[in-house]
Amino acid sequence: MLKYIFRRIIWMPVLLLMVSIIVFILGVYGPGDPIEVQLGNNYDEANAERIREKMGLNDPVIVQWMRYIGNAVTGDFGESYVFKNRDVSELLIPKLIVSAKLNIISFIIAISIGTPLGFYAAVSYGSSKDPIVVIISLIFYAMPVFFTAPLLILVFALQLDLVPAAGWGGVFDKRIILPALTVGVPGAAVFVRLIRSSMLEVLDSDYIKLARAKGVSEINVLWKHAFRNAMLPVVTIMGFSLAGLFGGSLIVEILYGIPGVGRISLDSVYSRDYPVIMAIVLLGSSALVIANLIIDFVYTLIDPRIDMQ
């Protein structure tokens, strides 16, 4: 199994190199130019050329790329084109951490609400309580962020004055409540449906029927046997959440004034801030690969049916 993990890990740098080539080529040959964006009204062809020359943007693509990779492997992701003389890592790391914290809390909310509800829905299968739970969770899922966020701000910040309207103070500051709910409550719907269908499948299986036949108490059937096996697909969802851990929801961050990575992810594309774009893309790809690896690994530990080749 160690060999398997090793092979998967080796694949990661190869993948990242490929991703970096693609992004590089798109940047160089795609429309739009970071120098022009910054010069704006003061565009001057000669001036722009001189600046491009100095920044090495006129060098052959392969040279630029190798220069970038050479620096990146030592941890130097260059300086932002927009935020002058600012290291990309210095710029992004605090924002990534903020987004990650918000995502974790939102995830905890989603799973804490969604799991019991999904459990309840599955157990109430056949009665009217089941579709009611599902419908309510879907209603929350369908509500767009730009509807729920202003609504929550209006009610809880402006009218009830329980929390400030915007800002970020970390995980234990009350300002995380509204944004975490905004992201977490719709996310709960995912868990509701997941746990519910997973539970229903498990409840229908042979070993559950056997346990009931043996006379195991219903509580033990549900909790000790069914539930723990039904949680398996949750691991997959955790994997996807893990991959998106450092991603930021643009709208939530803007509306609540959260200094996360969402805004700069979009702004950097508009302004063609390539060093920032590259770092974010590479990070996202890495996160996805690592998350997949972790999930596969965790699966082999908890599901005896799976055997790693």
């Binding site: 001036n47 003389n85 800002g167 103070g169 500051d173």
Partner: protein, 554 residues
Amino acid sequence: MSKIKLFSLSLIVFAFISCGGDTTETNTKTVGKNSNVAPALEGNKSSESSAAKDNIFRLNFSDPPTFDPALVTDTTSASIIVEIFSGLVTLNKELEIIPDLAKSWDISDDGKTYTFNLRDDIKFSNGDKVTAGDFKWSIERAANPDTGSMNAEVYLGDIVGVTEVIDAGGSLTEVKGLSVIDDETLEITIDEPKTYFLAKLTYPTAFVLSEKYVTEQGENWIDQPVGTGPFVMTEYQIGQTLKLKPNDNYWGDKAKVDGIIMNLAGGVSMAMYENDEVDITGVGLADLERVKDPNDPLNKDLVNVPPQFSLNYIGFNVNMPPFDDVNFRKALSHAVDKEIIADKIYSGLTKPAFSIIPPGFPGYSPNIEGLNFNEELAKEYLSKSKYADPATRPRIIVTIPGTGGSPGLDTEVISDMWKETLGVEVEIQQVEWATYLQDMNRKRLQLWAGSGWQADYADPQDFIDVLFYSKSDVNHGNYSNSEVDDLILEARTEIDNNRRFLLYNQAEQMIVDDAAIFPLWFDTDGYALVKPWVRGYEFTPIIVPKFKDVEINS
């Protein structure tokens, strides 16, 4: 998963979550020798309503790309830089050039040599003396391509020797046109008697830095900027907060307010204002009706914001059919009823433009005769043009910037008016901003809307010359009129300002008669909300220091 594994996993997650107080993560730069930060400035946590009682001004702002005056190209950075740094001259509210660090200046008879007399005993915020040598060093630094300035050519290029330094690529550092007569006297020589040169010195690229401080600190000097403006930076967390406090070594009247807190992280500004988390906010179209209602409690906080000096227009590429025919351009110009658009669509928030230089701006003339709304005249011009017949008319595509799939309402209505009145069909194409900019700079757009021109410095040269001179790089429509060129060249070296403005107005009338562009809107009054306890905040249409007269009365 076993219970132990689950427990340790949750421990790890918990540890990660609790790491670091978020208000002091890696990027806090608490600065200043005497960083006696008042308690109310500490952290974001309790700033919500406490600051209303302290003399602290709180507002929302965007993260500035840079604090270095030599590197600034955007308005966000410039707005903050003018509070921390300053230069020889600045502008007053009437857009007149007034002394800043230079108490007076003389101009030679040939108009090419300026001698600036600096004030006595001026200091940087760290106590170092400001000398003429610092000015020479700062300008040379801005001109040196190694510094990375993008607009040194524009703002300093008129000084003799600057272009040589820029072209030398770093090997030449001295600017011949700068001469230090003594510590308090600086002589600047420019290549031609350009009267608008002084206006360019009001822009940050020409501001003064401490040679001693910047050389000693090296690249990281910008993390603790030392300047000559009314404020100093005390704290900066990227993307979160920026805090300023008065500069004790400022030459002028010390700022009345004790501190400024800028929130850079975002949030719904109106909501934060209503919740007393900020002391000022802009008012968007969506909230306008509500706050204009006299019965709304916010109504008494409503203030007028004077217009920015900008012109919104539709551009014609005179090298591309059908816009190579002046009659066709005139036909389109006369066919649009701008008054009704301004009234119905923009609720009177824009002012129809029929000329180039905005009202209130130096050189503005109310006597320019524009191409007014006149359907008969429009049809007449169309019949006179080469492209009267729709069958032989080339395809027309108007390009607008942005994402989101809906063009501005004015573009839609204007296209409609062209169709109704003239039978001219126009397709609307939306292109993302950087791509739009690139196409515009390469002069390959046939017809474009959604962009405007805003003055960087208070001189009509920034409109007429920069936009319409045939060889200008930002003359995106290839407009070329040799008479206009002659007037522009003459104005460049005309020493008498009144005569100069007359030349620009003559050129302006020709540009309008040629329908070189289709002027749409001048910016008009906007609205903002300001808390009753804020005194002394002035809205200005051009970027000058705003905070030193602010005072919070609790």
